[in-house]
């Protein structure tokens, strides 16, 4: 290696850039990690909540409201959620989230006169069949989320609404 490979000026430039970069990184790393924390936080699990006694559940979807405890950063509150619940032909209880998979409006049961017995979203005329499957050709691209559910002592308990694979 000859002497002229790196000049004094270049050496100092590299050293200063390196030290400066190290200092800047040390300063910015905690701040950036601080800002990115919501992305890296683990999702919270939700306790099952008693929604209704099973006698109330019919073959026709019915809307039930229930309260869950929500922790939003430093703010804890009771939040009302809704579910469309019905009894399937095989006797299972199906609880569907009313949140449209297109852009998050609220769907209603059987409110579109031209398409009876379907879930209907008024925002962009999205439709779902009774089991929550999105009707092809309408706005939503996935079926309605289905709640984790459990029957205990004659009552239906619901947990978190989970997404399903597209139709």
């Amino acid at each position: 290696m000859s002497k002229e490979d790196i000049s004094r000026r270049q050496f100092l430039n590299y050293t200063l850039t390196g030290v400066g970069g190290f200092m800047a990184a040390g300063m910015l790393m905690p701040m950036v990690r601080f800002a990115l924390d919501p992305i890296l936080k683990e999702g919270t699990d939700q306790e099952l909540v008693a929604v209704t006694s099973v006698e109330e559940i019919a073959n026709e979807p019915k809307r039930f409201d229930f309260k869950i405890k929500q922790k939003d950063g430093w703010y804890e509150s009771d939040v009302t959620q809704s579910a469309w619940v019905y009894k399937a032909k095989n006797g299972d209880f199906i609880a569907l989230s009313p949140i449209c998979k297109h852009l998050g409006c609220t769907v209603d049961w059987n409110t579109d006169p031209s398409h009876p017995n379907q879930f209907f979203c008024p925002c962009h005329l999205g439709r779902y069949t009774k089991d929550g499957t999105n009707v092809k050709g309408t706005a939503p691209l996935a079926p309605l989320d289905v709640y984790d559910s459990q029957v205990k002592d004659g009552k239906l308990y619901l947990g978190k609404a989970k997404p399903r694979k597209g139709a």
């Binding site: 300063m27 905690p30 701040m31 990690r33 601080f34 800002a35 430093w74 703010y75």
Partner: protein, 223 residues
């Protein structure tokens, strides 16, 4: 790669003279610690600026979690400090930096004072420096209230009582600072607005003037 991007922009916009004007200037021998170690006293102004940059950055990040509201302020500070990753460090930078910036500014002022560097033609720069000092004190005073704990509340009560003792305009100053008759919800939002918008804007303007003047006049000669 970077060089190519720079060249592409420079070819069109001729940006080299812009940053050369700012960055390329000779450091006289008497301010260079490599020649005289005692020249480290010239570092304090730059250190004040460096810590100010840290304060602005850490403050910007803190506002991602902080809310200036009497119900939630303390909870949000507790949350960001204890639940958010590196919260204790980011808040620590802002907390300790606030004190450190006053210390550095004070040392810088002492250097300028004892070297007589404020004398003609640099009197105006001294005046701007004193204004920066007041703005910094204002930032410290308004920032102290924001965590909304007991120390913050009572320190602010004392501070506002001090403002109350100003002859003639005291009561007006008190109501203006508190945003009403009591020190509460409106004081907190007011102090937050002053702390993150009004004073930083004033600070940036004054610092710009401070730096412009020192570049125009050059650093004062050796003793």
């Amino acid at each position: 790669m970077l060089q190519k991007i720079y060249d592409w922009v420079d070819e069109r916009l001729d940006i080299t003279p812009l940053w050369r004007d700012v960055a390329d200037h000779e450091v006289p021998e008497h301010v260079n610690p490599a020649h005289h170690f005692s020249a480290f006293v010239y570092c304090f102004g730059g250190l004040t600026f460096f810590i100010t940059v840290i304060q602005i950055l850490s403050g910007m990040f803190l506002t991602m979690y902080y809310v200036p509201d009497i119900v939630n302020a303390w909870e949000s500070v507790y949350y960001l400090q204890n639940e958010v990753a590196f919260g204790v460090i980011v808040r620590g930078m802002h907390h300790w930096g606030a004190s450190l910036v006053i210390v550095m500014m004070f040392l810088h002022t002492l250097r300028v004072f004892f070297q007589g560097a404020y004398k003609k033609p640099r009197e105006l720069n001294w005046v701007v420096g004193v204004l920066i000092f007041f703005v910094m004190l204002g930032l410290g005073f308004t920032g102290y209230l924001l965590p909304w704990d007991m120390k913050a509340l009572f320190a602010t009560k004392v501070g506002i009582e001090i403002a109350m003792t100003i002859p003639v305009v005291g009561p007006i100053a008190k109501t203006f600072l508190a945003g009403g008759e009591i020190i509460g919800a409106q004081t907190l939002t007011r102090f937050f607005a002053i702390h993150v918008f009004f004073l930083p804007a004033a600070l940036l303007g004054l610092m710009g003037a401070h730096f412009l003047m020192i570049r125009k006049q050059g650093i004062s000669g050796p003793l």
